[in-house]
Amino acid sequence: MRTRKALAVAGAAVASAVGAVALRRRSARSRDRLELYFEDGSLLTIAQGAPEADQLLLHARELLAAAQS
């Protein structure tokens, strides 16, 4: 009985962890983001919510809207 209870708790914990990871991945994918590639080979990723993201994403959205209009 005790073993069965322990297994149930462990199962719930694993399922919860898997769900949290999946949710986090999904929300990260749906967030708008920019990737900037510089001459020295460095890459800068700016995700929605970062202080410098607003203005850059605004222009990117304008560009996309102009193309789709």
Binding site: L57, L63, A67
Partner: protein, 143 residues
Amino acid sequence: MSVSVKRVPPAADALAHLTEISTQIKAAVVLDREGTVQASTVDDERAGRIASSALELFRQADAQRDQELVQLDAALSGGSVFVVRDEERLIAATTTPGPTAGLVFYDLKSALRSFAEPPKPKPKRAPAKKKAATTRKKKDADA
């Protein structure tokens, strides 16, 4: 910001080829560093708006670091935006959501290269050589 629209005929071929080879690219505009549209796959009015936004986006993104920016992509919910530069021009393109970024960058760079290359001159025919006569003359000289 004002953006003028000027068409250069050979450029249209490169962009037509670009949208032909890449099904992910929906619209593309080539512009110079001042924002003048050189070619596009959309009408002039839309091309001007795309060029204006692309130039502003690229300038602001370039200011993020001391190093010079060479390319960028923005993944948005409705699609993605790509901007690539070479020495003289920028090419801006929009794609469907979730594109293969590496492939799109490759195609855009190829298109930019085709703009930079001067048109190849037609190969001239070399005059036919008269080998037989030369040989005979040499034989005559030997004799």
